[in-house]
Amino acid sequence: MNIQAVKVIYKYEMLRTWKTLFQSIASPVLSTSLYFIVFGSAIGSRIESIEGVPYGSFIVPGLIMLSLLTQSIANASFGIFFPKFTGTIYEVMSAPLSHYEILLGYVGAAASKSFIIGIIILATAGFFVDLDIKHPFWMMFFLILTCITFSLFGFIIGLWATNFDKLQLIPLLVITPLVFLGGSFYSISMLPPFWQTVTLLNPVVYLISGFRWSFFEVADVSIWTSLVIILGFLAFCLALVAWMFKTGYRLQN
């Protein structure tokens, strides 16, 4: 394995994060803080607790997931799309490293960055609400798994996209609505029965539910269902990326 190459790709991608510190880290933290102020304090103070959890605390896992998903996808898709767009990808493609090493470098960096953002948001949330994490191990596990899975998904989008429009298409039109409608700000038990059933088709529901369970032992679906769904999505992304590499999709003529 060409560890040196994985290291330089990882380092290069992380360096990009520090160079654009405001955009990369300050901006998601700021927007999450705004959510806490508006939903948690202003509106939340008028909402009763949900299943025994104060509303302000209840939205923390959903808000972290919202940032994790959008940030993982944005980082990883941009990381691979940009060198493709500028043409500098030629160097990576002509270097003695396998596609999986390329993946490790880019996805590893994007996932690390999302993880850092997740932790920062969690710490920020601590300033606004009381947090008592019931299952720290599961919380970390879900956090890391989500970072990796959605960074991988972002990498796929970055490979697929042929222009900036396409790069934004899925995060904006698919991911954001799914997260907002996936129970970030409410428990799906609050919905009418018909919409409860429809909501179960949204994979993000399982993600947020599992993550919320690790905090408060409160969940819309069983933790094991959540785990199977997220691992299933990870397997789907891995299979897709394996197919892309095998066929040289958008990377090799």
Binding site: N2, I3, Q4, A5, K7, V8, I9, Y12, K19, P83, T86, G87, T88, Y90, E91, V92, M93, S94, A95, P96, L97, G248, Q252, N253
Partner: protein
Amino acid sequence: MKTIIAINNLSKQYASGHQALKKINLEIKSGEIIALLGPNGAGKTTLISVICGLVSPSSGSVHVNGFNIIKDYRETRALIGLVPQELTLSAFESVWNTLNFSRGLFGKKPNKAYIEQLLKDLSLFDKKDTELRLLSGGMKRRVLIGKALSHEPRILFLDEPTAGVDVELRKDMWNIVRRLRDTGVTIILTTHYIEEAEEIADRVGIISDGELLLVEEKHALMQKLGKKQLVLELRDAIDHIPESLNAYALTLSDEGYKLTYRYDTRSDRTGITTLMKAINASSLTLKDLQTQQSSLEDIFIDLISSKENLK
């Protein structure tokens, strides 16, 4: 000399149906400079891209230092440095970082002394902390060469290294190439500037429409295929060529003072002796005469057009 790159029956057809390479066979010797000459769209870049792993071949094989480029890609790619045609660089990176990034990509541990020396050789050392977007076009080209050399390759591909580069810089680039060859690096360059091939290459391959028309040692090629012309300067101007000389397809120029005769150095009979006899027998008096060898450019145009004619 040892063969470092062996290309056998290499073909490439793109998904669009365009046949970019047609059964290319070529052996490149270690330590030589070979120029692949051809018009735009001839398949030069595709050929390079296949060897470097950017384009997958449709059929045929390529071996680099005995290793197959697909099966043993780690071994082959580690030996190769590629300077692409376009000035593709990350805008906000520094010269120093980009060279170290390239070195790392090729699996080499950081080597400060080597990169420093490389930058000095390329007259870039004083720009080492400058962001790439602030460099001039010529400097960017040198950075790309630096990146390609950062992992100490034994083979360097230069894809149109002097396209859009001014005369001064072009000569500078040629000197860099020659210095590299002196260190034992094998250099394969593509160009559509005949002058470039003529100036620095040991061998010249001519590619047109995906086919390698010929590969020859440069001087042998010029001698073998070269046409010469004999220019006869007359003491007195004439307004038409005498009938007795009609058989020689002469052209009259310089207000009737100059007769030009073109002949092929490859043929046994160049026709010069009989022409001279015929001139002797005519009423013409010669003031001077000289011969001129055709350049690689003339040979190139001849080859390409004769291929077009065959179609």
